[in-house]
């Protein structure tokens, strides 16, 4: 590894993002740390407002600033701290070294340009290809993501594609410059299950072929179970649990993860008469957290949870949970 670099393609430490609004500050991301190895797929789960998208958007600096502000932390990528590099450098990285796929394929494609133009755009700006080279590469990319008759479809407009096909186009654009890291923000949420199954299959295949690292944001635990290597559970702008995928599902150690797994009905196996409910509402993040954000909804809550915000304690190999309660001993943590 060159000059003592880490084995990680992405190393995020203590990232803090705040939105300054007229109604006061919103602490959307609070000390989020995670790493990503080459070729790995990290799943990020959480409810809306848990900070999962904002975390990823702030590390590629796609948030409007102001109102957003990165208040601390570092994002190491290829030897540079993305939280500090100038905007020009960031622009060279974004869309080239780090690709993005967003939730809604209709609004993220420009309706007045052909699909071919939109795939060729990053190829020409980032890689300096000529028009004909870019067209050839664009056709290859469409072919790669499984769009039949690729060459001809380059001159079609987004509305001529179905939802699933549009999402394939988005993936083709994200892959155009051979990114090291792909950030996929709920890429299958707007799609039907049978189309979602096609896209998941495609991603698995592309990962093997191209060996890039992927961050996959979703609220669907089923999707995560199928594709992730490691999972990070977020709540109230913080990472509450982080574990290898099998470990997380077999042995969840944070009360929120446990309840989340219980609220989801399954299409196989036992059918519960009554669904488990997480009472209450997600927290309002108007202040920097000084206590556990989940304590108001937590069955395990203790006095200590109101006084301190738990750190991420190691609970197993590659597994940590931010909770004062230790489920393994069935008692409060003694730290």
């Amino acid at each position: 590894m060159p000059d003592g670099a880490t084995p990680f393609v992405l190393d995020v430490k203590d990232l803090k993002t705040v939105f300054r609004t007229r109604g006061g500050e919103v602490h959307a991301v609070n000390n989020v740390s995670f790493t990503l190895k080459a070729g790995e797929l990290l799943g990020v789960v959480g409810e809306s407002g848990s900070g999962k998208s904002v975390t990823m958007m702030s590390l590629i600096r796609l948030l409007p600033m102001p109102p957003a502000e990165i208040r601390g932390g570092s994002v190491m990528f290829e030897g540079q701290d993305l939280a500090r590099v100038p905007e020009d450098t960031m622009r060279d990285i974004r869309g080239a070294r780090i690709g993005m796929v967003f939730q809604d394929p209709m609004t993220s494609l420009n309706p007045v340009f052909t699909v071919g133009y939109q795939i060729m755009e990053p190829l020409r700006t980032h890689m300096g290809l000529s028009k004909s080279q870019a067209a050839t590469r664009a056709a290859e990319l469409l072919d790669l993501v499984g769009i039949p008759d690729a060459r001809r479809r380059l001159s079609d407009y987004p509305h001529q594609f179905s939802g699933g096909m549009r999402q394939r186009v988005m993936i083709a654009i994200a892959l155009a410059c051979d990114p090291k890291v792909l950030i996929a923000d709920e890429p299958t949420t707007a799609l039907d299950v049978t189309i979602q199954a096609q896209i998941l299959e495609l991603i698995k295949e592309l990962r093997q072929k191209l060996g890039m690292a992927i961050v996959w944001i979703t609220h669907d635990l089923g999707v995560i179970a199928g594709i992730a290597d490691r999972v990070m559970v977020m709540y109230g702008g913080q990472v509450v649990e982080h574990a290898p995928v099998r470990e997380l599902f077999a042995n969840p150690q944070h009360p929120y993860t446990r309840m989340l797994l219980e609220t989801v009905p399954s299409i196989r196996g036992e059918r519960a008469e009554k669904l488990r409910v997480i009472q209450g509402q997600p927290p309002i993040l108007s202040r920097a957290p000084e206590s556990c954000p989940f304590r108001a909804r937590c069955p395990q809550a203790m006095d200590r949870c109101a006084r301190e915000n738990p750190a991420r304690y190691d609970v197993g190999p590659g597994h940590d949970a931010a909770c004062f309660w230790d489920f393994r001993t069935g008692a409060a943590r003694d730290v």
Binding site: M165, L200, H219, A225, G226, L260, I267, L275, V277
Partner: protein, 345 residues
């Protein structure tokens, strides 16, 4: 689980069609039709929850809206307790409206932002009853209690509530006139998982308490498995399979149902290892131009020559199990002209 034998039919739908005209050219002449719902027949029994599932664009929401006469159906008959809705004149329809209500998908869009909660819940009461102001307010409070909303919030506006609470307001409004039948059109699709469970439990609790009948439209198969007694699967404007819940999930008969169930990702990593997933190729054809023969023949993994020629009729292949597929032509116990002809058992 719900038993249909001996149960009373509340809603009977026969050969319902809802086509939307396509206009084009200078004179906006009708040049075709989007066949959103194309010949659907089924019954809904009193006190049950019938789940209606399918992918987007399959016509499930249109079907739900047409049943309540929010659209004027192109053809077919809809009977609520024996009274025809599909062709009912305005004044008769207005008399029937209190019996049938709807909970909409998007609680943000289906509540008037300029009305207070009390105004929203009280509106059906103003329209259809002659309660005095005080009685109406009492009823509004009663409804707010029933759906778990704090009475103190009666004078607040919808934007002051979270998604789950807004959906509770929508449910309270639907309950205001003591309906028998409620169409729930994707009531939880816009909500977070932890809030979904709250709303589903509320719907079930209200059903037990008030004896409601639901048509529960959803694309979330695991939630339908939880809430529904029987399930109808739609594909491109048709019901392709209708069966009791457990039978459908344990042993789907139609290749589309099989593929749909296998596409649902399970929240269990181990299940993904050995899962033999059926990945359907391609997309759903346009309902303006459905394929010849069976609607599913363009994507069906078990397609046969006959499927491209003859459109399979929906038949009862076992008591209570209806399938529209040529694979089951031999299994037919009796040729049912309609999906929901009563079962003689």
């Amino acid at each position: 689980m719900f038993d249909t034998t001996g149960a009373k039919k509340l809603v009977e739908i026969r050969d319902l069609k809802m086509h939307f005209p396509i206009r084009s050219g200078l004179l906006r002449r009708v040049t075709g039709a989007v066949k959103a719902v194309d010949g659907v027949s089924f019954d809904i029994y009193e006190g049950e929850t019938l789940g209606l599932v399918g992918e987007s664009g399959c016509g499930k929401s249109t079907c739900g809206r047409a049943i309540l006469r929010l659209y004027d159906p192109t053809a077919g008959s809809i009977r609520l307790e024996g009274e025809e809705i599909a062709t009912a004149p305005f004044d008769k329809l207005r008399r029937l409206r209190p019996k049938m209500q709807m909970v909409f998908q998007d609680p943000q869009a289906s509540l008037n932002p300029r009305m207070t909660v009390a105004g929203i819940i009280g509106e059906p009461l103003m329209e259809h009853t002659r309660l005095s102001g005080a009685d109406r307010l009492a009823r509004i409070y009663e409804l707010m209690d029933a759906v778990g909303l704090n009475r103190d919030f009666a004078n607040r506006y919808p934007h002051e509530f979270s998604g789950g609470q807004r959906q509770r307001i929508g449910i309270a409004r639907a309950l205001a006139l003591n309906p028998k039948f409620i169409v729930c059109d994707e009531p939880i699709a816009a909500l977070d998982v932890s809030i979904q469970a709250q709303v589903v439990n509320l719907l079930e609790e209200l059903q037990d308490r008030l004896g409601l009948t639901y048509l529960f439209i959803s694309h979330d198969l695991s939630m339908v498995r939880h809430i529904a007694d029987r399930v109808a699967v739609m594909y491109l404007g048709r019901v392709v399979e209708l069966a009791p819940r457990d039978a459908l999930f344990a042993d789907p008969k139609h290749p589309y149902t099989t593929a749909l169930l296998s596409a649902v990702p399970e929240p269990d990593p181990a299940s993904h290892d050995d899962a033999e997933r059926i990945i359907l190729q391609g997309d759903v054809p346009s309902p303006a131009n459905p394929p010849k023969g069976c609607n599913f023949c363009t994507r069906c993994p078990q397609v046969m020559a006959i499927c491209r020629q003859i459109d399979p009729e929906i038949r009862e292949i076992a008591p209570g199990r209806f399938v529209a597929c040529h694979l089951h032509d031999q299994d037919t116990q009796k040729t049912a002209a309609h999906a929901a002809e009563p079962t003689e058992v």
